[in-house]
Symmetry: C2
Subunit: 568 residues, 2 copies
């Protein structure tokens, strides 16, 4: 009965979420069964693949990771004798922003230890990497973990954005590893956190510590992936939550017939979320940052693209629509970057006069762009600065900015007799709503396998790998499990005169199947109303196990590639 959840919380049963009461749906998720790939359900061993290289500049990566560079990938295969019995002491840490499924990675590690390495101990470092450095941890027990199974959030042990990067910090981490007698550490994080995991693995190896380090691919942004790691967890759930909302707004737009909804979607560095939501819902216009950058589009180009669609639709009698915009859009527009860097310079050194004389310090293109911006955005650029005095690009509400720019352009066209309708913009930002939702069945199962597999990798003595679960288009029992050398995902960047290793963010590929599919259909979506309303995520029934379009399309393209490379 829902009314029972109005009690004072006495039905909470555990220390971790002691203060919590659960909704019916949350409760129903606790005992949702988590199927394992068959290779994990039976005795297995780990076999090595060929020597690996790097995503770029292998020589530099080799220098940065002398002990780890070139490691083969690892693959779990059935084996009669199974893994050796051994008690392990393992630590786990959540790093960076939340993504649905993190709790299941931890559950997977825990269950691996319970099932295959009985008598082992799992420590959860609290509050992210800082918890490792400060040796703040909690011993994870079955009772502690249970209430987090298949639940959203990272609150089991919480996360943090600290990095282990200075020599002192590495020593702190070593001390924790020694103090807890750790055999291994699992770092659940995005590209940066996995880079750090690899640096830590190298550092521990150099220091002759027994503690191994395994990464797990986490980010709702979907920009940590490669052939071996076909998805980062959380992306599936977040996109489905956003798509539910977009679908609702589309139905509203079609029913009301008078609003253009401009929806900005989380995802600063890459536009995967926006692309996936477009594939799920068929909006009238979708801006993909990577395309804007590749085509060197200006803000005016983007404004005109949207305005053209609005005018064409007005001719057809449709004065409503839905437009998707990636959070990071203006980071992709070179002229905006230029303007902002000039502004940062001017604001730091010049007096900004009311009359606008200061604007003469701007280069011509930047001056034109500044004048093109809506007044509220101009003010935001001038007034809101971060502690370093820099313009706060992240605070700009791009969806509102675009509404205003489209309004201005439509007004102009109206005066020229090229548009004769009413435009009403409504702005939305979908972000936090998606990061902590209850994980979909896909994310729940995928994360559990990632964690279980990470346990197996540590158990077999592997380090510097990222847990890799593949063949995701097939039924779960056929999923492959293994690890990929983190160094194989890396390239270097030059920062402050030094090479820094980085896992290259996986951007939206304009030649990739998801974008090409989108590009082939968007013209039709623009003019005709092909809206799809995905509805709320279902946890049971026939619709509960669907996979997101991006992954499906990428897997399909990969399969075709594999076939053609075999037939060649």
């Amino acid at each position: 009965m829902p009314s029972s959840t109005l009690s004072n919380g006495s039905n909470a049963t555990t220390p971790g979420r002691l203060a919590s009461v659960y909704s019916e749906v949350q409760t129903s998720r606790l005992n949702h069964p988590l199927p394992l790939p068959s290779v994990l359900r039976n005795p297995f061993k780990i076999i090595d693949g060929p020597k690996s290289s790097a995503a770029g500049n292998p020589d530099e990566i080799a220098k940065l990771f002398p002990n780890l560079f070139g490691q083969p990938s690892a693959k779990l295969v059935p084996n009669e004798s199974g893994m050796p019995g051994a008690k392990l002491k393992i630590g786990v840490v959540l790093s960076g922003g939340q993504a649905p499924g993190g709790h299941n990675v931890i559950s997977g590690i825990f269950d691996y230890l319970q099932d295959i390495a009985k008598g082992s101990t799992l420590y959860g470092f609290k509050g992210g990497p800082a918890g490792i450095m400060k040796c703040k941890y909690v011993e994870l027990t079955s009772e502690f973990i249970y209430p987090y199974r298949n639940q959203g959030g990272f609150d089991m042990i919480c996360s943090g954005r600290d990095k282990i990067e200075t020599p002192e910090q590495f020593i702190q981490a070593q001390e924790t590893a020694k103090k807890l007698d750790l055999d291994g550490l699992v770092v659940i994080g995005g590209d940066d956190s996995n880079t750090n995991a690899c640096l830590l693995a190298e550092n521990f190896r150099v220091a002759n510590l027994k503690c191994r380090v395994i990464g797990c691919p986490k980010t709702i942004d979907g920009d940590l992936k490669c052939k071996e790691v076909p998805a980062s967890f959380g992306f599936d759930t977040a996109c489905k939550i956003y798509a539910e909302m977009i679908g609702n707004v589309m139905t509203d737009a079609r029913s009301t017939g008078k609003y253009y909804h401009f929806v900005r979607l989380m995802g600063r560095a890459a536009s995967h979320i926006t692309l996936e939501c477009a594939l799920q819902t068929h909006p009238n216009a979708t801006i993909i940052g990577e395309e804007v950058a590749a085509k060197k589009q200006t803000l005016k180009n983007v404004t005109n693209y949207i305005t053209d669609i609005i005018c064409k639709r007005a001719d057809l009698g449709y004065n409503y629509g839905v437009i998707l915009i990636p959070e990071g859009l203006i980071d992709f527009i070179p002229e905006v970057q230029q303007l902002i860097s000039e502004l940062n310079e001017i604001l730091a050194h010049e007096v900004v006069d009311e009359a606008g004389e200061w604007k003469k310090k701007l280069q011509k293109q930047s001056h034109v762009l500044f004048d093109f911006l809506p007044e509220t955005i101009q003010e935001q650029l001038m007034l809101e600065r971060d502690p370093h005095g820099n313009v706060q690009v992240a605070k700009i509400e791009t969806e509102k900015m675009l509404i205003q720019m489209v309004e201005t352009e439509l007004e102009k066209r109206k005066q020229e007799g090229r548009y004769n309708a009413q435009f009403k913009g409504q702005s939305h930002f979908f972000g936090y709503e998606g990061r902590c939702g209850l994980p979909t069945n896909f994310d729940s199962t995928y994360c559990y396998a990632l964690g279980y597999g990470a346990g197996a990798l540590l158990h077999s003595g592997k380090t510097g790998l990222i847990s890799s679960v593949g063949n995701l288009g097939a039924p779960v029992e056929e999923w492959t499990v293994g690890g990929t050398a983190l160094t194989a995902l890396m390239d270097v960047e030059r920062r402050h005169g030094k090479f820094k290793p980085v896992i290259r963010k996986a951007m939206v590929e304009l030649e990739g199947a998801p974008f090409k599919t989108f590009a082939s259909l968007r013209g039709e979506w623009a003019i005709k109303n092909r809206y799809i309303s995905p509805g709320p995520i279902q946890f049971t029934g026939p619709t509960s196990n669907s996979i997101n379009h991006t992954l499906l399309l990428e897997l399909g393209a990969q399969a075709q590639e594999d076939i053609s490379s075999k037939t060649c």
Copy 2:
């Protein structure tokens, strides 16, 4: 397969949603069975209750509705012989803002006609009441209606906000009724639309038209209800969609540990949605407009209430939280209303000087309030006007305003040494996302019964009633079906020297069970973290048939009242 929805829409099968493709969940909803109350599943007749009165000023209502005033309520009861066979011509219209379930009301009317009055015709007036006046309609067939079953939105025939109120408009409506030879009309709408439905019923009766008029209670705001009409449809779905998002944001707040999320929720006139969402999710602070008004609170009071909670939480080490705010908050604050009316006056007649001399025209209290407002809100009040030159209160983003006012107050307390933590506010507005979602099982079934019952009322010759389905806490088969005299819901308001009939909006009752339950628990929710994450609406499984807290609590209180009145 989800990828199939990426086709060009060729799997759409119907004229109405020809351009649409359906998601898996949408498709799965099409054939969701709609159980009927048992009284509708077997032969029935309609019996009359006692003579009715009005919600207030019965004498005036009697004058305004000489033909309809005092009508008894109607109740369906089992009867061996059933309704007489007769072909009917019925019209249906959607009026006002969208609410999930509207399509099912139409399906219910249609199925009634098919099942009980075979050979009948159902016309859907397009685009709201204007469709009646302009005689713009579509004949609804089984094929036309099918793709809208259990789907969100109002796009089957769309809605509109026009009113039939002038003598000319009434004549237009009469002409349409004659032209289509209508036996009846169902008006699906909120308080205003149902008032108009009753005026139309009276008008048709005076004009000696055979066309009867029956209303149906629609509004996500939940402010059209009374003992006989325990709920307006759409409220259940909208609240559950908002509560899903709030629950996700709560999990995010707890996981991140550094944000205060200020969530503004749709619902301008009454705060039912905010109250229901609070009961579902247990936020740290919730502002209920009716309480603010009853206690004559100022904006400063509200700011201090929130700030006090933030400070107490900071003492406990919690620098995060979730705060719910009703969309209409500032409409409930008398001092804000006063300021706005003074501003409207001043802005219409005075020159607003940069130096702020104009502010001396404000009364002292308004001047103080104006200076208390954040600068951006001051600007918004001065700059954004509607076509009549009035300040646009609806455009004020109350959640952002409160964040800024709380920031200022916290800064002050910091300087006084009473607060020593970091405050980061995040603002959200949940509105359009909830109006057009896929209806919950409750709304789907409730709407179907409302429509089916409306058919029965028209069939038996009733007019000026609102379709009333009751006993909603019991299993569907035990629900009661009937109609309540619309005049019984009415009071009068004096406008332009004349009495106007109005259905009094049902506000949040501070002595009602939902508010009292909330009030008894909010102190605990403020300090301890009792967050509940309701998760996405489920359409199948054990969690799919839950009823919202407001309705459950009101039904519970009603049942107790009934018992005590019987025992007295």
